[in-house]
C-alpha cells in the first residue's frame, strides 16, 4: 500500500482539478464511463504487473488484445461458431500464447524483450492475415454475449450512476492476485524470483515454472481484456486495434508501484495507475484543452508526479537515517 501513495496522490490531484475546473466531471454518466475504461485497462495492467514482478516485460499485450478481440467476432459472425465454444477457445488460445513465451524465455533462455517484441509483430500479422484486413464486428447481433461487458447495475442511492459489469472480473482478479502475492508460498516465491532469480533458484524455488506461469497469466488477461474491449466497442480493425495498449498497461503497472527491476508489486497501485491514465485522458476534454495536447499533458503530469514521489521517498529515507544516527550517538 505504501508503494501506492505517490500514484494515489497524483490520482486524487487530477480528479480534484478535473472536478473543480472541468464541466460535469462528477456526473454519474462520466463516473460510469471512467469505471468501465479503468476496469478494461486494469485487466491488461494486472497482467503486465505479474510479468514485471518477475523482472520481465511483455510487449505483445496490445497485439494479443488485437488477436483475441478480432478473433471473437470473426468466429461468431463469419464462421458462426457458438459463443460457448468461442469464448473458451479464445481464452485458451491466449493462455497458450503465454505458455509459448514462457517456454522460449525459460527453456531457450531468450530475452523477454525480444520474445514479446516478436510476438507483438507476429500476433498482429496473424490477425490481419486471418481476417484479410477486414474490420470485424457483431453487426448488431450477439447482444447476450456482449452483455458480459455492457451490463450496468443500478446502485440504490446513486441515481445516475450504474456500475459496469466489468468491475466484477477486475475486482475478483485483483483480490485473487493480492492474496496470491501476499498470502501464498507461490506468491512469495514469485516476488523472490523477481528480486534475485539465481538466489531464488539455488534456494529451491521453481523459478522457470513461476516465470512461465507469469507469462501465461499475462497473455490470458490480455486475451480476456481484448474480448471485453471488442464487446464494449462493437467492431475493430485488425491493423490498429490495441495499438500501444501494452504501453498503457506497463505504465499503469509501473506507476502503481511495480519495479521494472522485479520483485515489487502493488495490486491496488496498478488499478489506481490505470485509473489515473483514464482520468487524465477524460480531464483533457472536460477541461477544454486541445486534444493534440493529450500525450504531452499525460506525460508531463506523470513525470512531475513520479519525480515528486521519488524526492519525498528520498527525503523520508534521509530523515530516518539522520534519526537513527542521532539515536546511536
Amino acid at each position: 500500500m505504501k508503494k501506492s501513495f505517490g500514484i494515489l496522490g497524483i490520482f486524487i490531484t487530477v480528479c480534484l482539478v478535473a472536478a473543480i475546473f472541468g464541466e460535469n466531471f462528477l456526473t454519474g454518466y462520466n463516473l460510469m464511463n471512467l469505471t468501465q475504461r479503468t476496469a478494461l485497462f486494469s485487466i491488461l495492467a494486472l497482467g503486465a504487473g505479474i510479468v514485471i514482478v518477475t523482472g520481465g516485460i511483455d510487449l505483445s499485450i496490445g497485439s494479443v488484445v488485437c488477436l483475441a478481440g478480432i478473433t471473437t467476432p470473426w468466429l461468431l459472425v463469419e464462421h458462426e461458431w457458438s459463443p460457448w465454444l468461442v469464448l473458451p477457445t479464445v481464452l485458451l488460445g491466449s493462455a497458450l500464447i503465454g505458455l509459448f513465451h514462457g517456454v522460449l524465455i525459460t527453456k531457450l533462455r531468450l530475452q523477454p524483450f525480444l520474445v514479446t517484441l516478436c510476438g507483438l509483430l507476429l500476433y498482429r500479422g496473424i490477425a490481419r492475415w486471418m481476417t484479410g484486413d477486414q474490420s470485424q464486428g457483431f453487426q448488431g447481433e450477439f447482444e447476450g454475449v456482449r452483455a458480459i461487458a455492457l451490463t450496468k447495475f443500478t446502485i440504490p442511492g446513486l441515481e445516475n450512476y450504474r456500475l459496469p459489469s466489468t468491475v466484477i472480473p477486475v475486482t475478483a482478479l485483483a483480490v485473487v492476485l493480492a492474496l496470491f502475492l501476499s498470502r501464498t508460498v507461490w506468491g512469495r516465491w514469485l516476488l523472490a524470483t523477481g528480486r534475485n532469480e539465481s538466489a531464488a533458484r539455488y534456494s529451491g524455488v521453481p523459478t522457470a515454472r513461476l516465470i512461465t506461469l507469469a507469462y501465461v497469466a499475462c497473455s490470458f488477461l490480455a486475451g480476456f481484456g481484448g474480448m471485453l474491449f471488442i464487446f464494449d466497442i462493437g467492431s475493430a480493425q485488425p491493423s490498429d486495434f490495441g495499438n500501444f495498449y501494452e504501453l498503457y498497461a506497463i505504465a499503469a503497472a509501473v506507476l502503481g508501484g511495480c519495479s521494472l527491476r522485479g520483485g515489487e508489486a502493488s495490486v491496488f497501485g496498478i488499478i489506481v495507475g490505470a485509473a489515473t491514465l483514464q482520468v487524465l485522458r477524460t480531464a483533457i476534454i472536460l477541461l477544454g484543452l486541445s486534444s493534440q495536447l493529450e500525450f504531452a499533458v499525460i506525460g508531463s503530469v506523470l513525470l512531475v508526479g513520479v519525480a515528486a514521489d521519488e524526492l519525498i521517498r528520498r527525503f523520508n529515507a534521509q530523515r530516518l537515517e539522520r534519526a537513527s544516527h542521532a539515536a546511536i550517538h
Partner: protein, 359 residues
C-alpha cells in the same frame, strides 16, 4: 592519398546525384511524364505492371481493391494493391519499393501530401503518378481520381442542417486531420451546416468554437484510429456538452461508434447523427431512422478508374484526363429511401473484394 582522392570523388558523385534528384521542379516532372506518355504512343506497353496504394486499412479499401483488380483482369495487366497499415512511414516504404520493382504507374492516396512531396516526385520521375481519394495538388501528379471532399463535406453539412433546422450544438469527430481529404471534408461540413458560401480555401481552426447562424460547433476531436479512444471522445464530449444536438463522424468508424455510444447511453434518436461512409451500423441506423443519412463515396470506381487511366498512359493515351486534372467520381447521399438498394450493391462489391483478397 589514394583513399582520400577516392573519398572526394565519391562525395562529389553523391552531391551530384543528390543535386540531380532535386533538379526537377513539379512542372518539369509533369512535362517529363507527358513526354514519356507521348513516346509510348509508338511503342505501347501492352502488359504494364500497375499499382494502387491506399492510405490505410479499411473495408473501404477492400472495395477499391476489388475495382482495381477487376480493371486489371479486363485490361489484361498485372495489378499490385498495397494497404499501408503503419501510416506515413509504411506508405513511403511501399512507394519506394514499387519504384524499385520498376512499376509502370502508381495511383496513391497520400496520407500527408505536403510532407510526402519527395517520395511522390520520385514516383513521377521513374513511373507515372496519379492520386486517388485524397489529392496532392502540389505534387507532380497527372490526375486526381475521386470526389471533391469539400463538396462531399458540404453534402454532409447540408444533411445535418436539414435534420437540425432549429440550430444547436454540433460536434465533429474524425480519425485524423493531416490528410487533405480530411481537412477539406471537415471544412465542407462546417460551411454546409452554417449555410456559408462555397469556398474550399476557407479554414476554421479545429480548436476554435464556432458560433454562427444559430449553430455552435463545439469542436473537432481526433483519435489517430484508436477506436477505444474514438468511443471515449464521443462519451466525454457528451458529458462536457449536455446540450449536444448533433454529431458527425467524418471517417467511417466515427459514425459507427456514435451509433454505438448513443445506444449504450440511452440517447438513441435524442442526439442526431449525420454520417460519412457506409458502416453497417450506420446503414441499419438510417433504416431505423436514428441516423439522418450518410455521404458515401465510390471506392470501387476509384480502384477501377485508377487502373484504367494508368493503363491508358502506358498505351500513350492521355485523352481521358480532363484539363483541370480532376477525374470526378461524385459522392452520393444515402437516406432511408435508397438505403436498401445501396446496401445490396455494397454487399456484392465487398464479396468481390474479399474473393479478390483471398486469391
Amino acid at each position: 592519398m589514394k583513399n582520400r582522392i577516392l573519398s572526394l570523388v565519391s562525395l562529389s558523385a553523391l552531391v551530384a546525384a543528390m543535386a540531380t534528384t532535386h533538379v526537377f521542379a513539379n512542372g518539369d516532372l509533369v512535362a517529363d511524364q507527358k513526354a514519356r506518355i507521348a513516346a509510348l504512343k509508338d511503342h505501347p506497353d501492352t502488359k504494364p505492371h500497375l499499382a494502387f496504394v491506399s492510405n490505410g486499412v479499411a473495408d473501404f479499401w477492400t472495395i477499391a481493391k476489388a475495382g482495381a483488380l477487376a480493371a486489371g483482369r479486363e485490361l489484361g495487366c498485372q495489378v499490385t494493391v498495397e494497404f499501408p497499415g503503419g501510416g506515413l512511414g509504411d506508405q513511403k516504404r511501399m512507394l519506394e519499393d514499387l519504384v524499385t520493382k520498376g512499376i509502370d504507374g502508381i495511383s496513391v492516396s497520400p496520407i500527408d501530401p505536403t510532407n510526402q512531396l519527395e517520395v511522390m516526385q520520385l514516383v513521377a520521375e521513374r513511373s507515372f503518378l496519379i492520386t486517388n481519394d485524397s489529392d496532392a495538388p502540389s505534387a507532380p501528379r497527372l490526375c486526381y481520381i475521386g470526389m471533391d471532399n469539400y463538396i462531399a463535406g458540404r453534402m454532409c453539412g447540408e444533411l445535418a442542417r436539414a435534420g437540425l433546422p432549429q440550430g444547436g450544438e454540433v460536434a465533429i469527430f474524425i480519425g485524423r486531420l493531416e490528410q487533405d481529404n480530411a481537412k477539406r471534408r471537415r471544412q465542407g461540413f462546417i460551411d454546409g451546416l452554417l449555410g456559408r458560401s462555397s469556398d474550399p480555401t476557407r479554414y476554421d481552426e479545429p480548436a476554435t468554437v464556432i458560433n454562427e447562424a444559430g449553430y455552435t460547433i463545439v469542436g473537432t476531436w481526433t483519435d489517430s484510429f484508436d477506436r477505444a479512444k474514438a468511443k471515449a471522445n464521443i462519451e466525454d464530449v457528451m458529458i462536457k456538452h449536455p446540450k449536444l444536438a448533433l454529431v458527425t463522424g467524418l471517417f467511417e468508424y466515427n459514425s459507427t461508434l456514435a451509433v454505438e455510444v448513443f445506444k449504450q447511453a440511452g440517447k438513441t434518436g435524442k442526439i442526431k447523427i449525420a454520417a460519412f461512409d457506409e458502416g453497417a451500423d450506420v446503414l441499419v441506423g438510417i433504416r431505423d431512422g436514428i441516423v439522418l443519412g450518410t455521404v458515401v463515396q465510390d471506392p470501387y470506381g476509384y480502384g477501377f478508374e485508377s487502373i484504367k487511366v494508368l493503363h491508358a498512359f502506358n498505351q500513350g493515351n492521355m485523352s481521358m484526363v480532363p484539363a483541370n486534372g480532376v477525374l470526378s467520381i461524385p459522392a452520393r447521399v444515402i437516406k432511408k429511401d435508397n438505403v436498401d438498394s445501396f446496401w445490396a450493391d455494397l454487399k456484392a462489391k465487398l464479396k468481390a473484394g474479399k474473393e479478390a483478397s483471398a486469391k
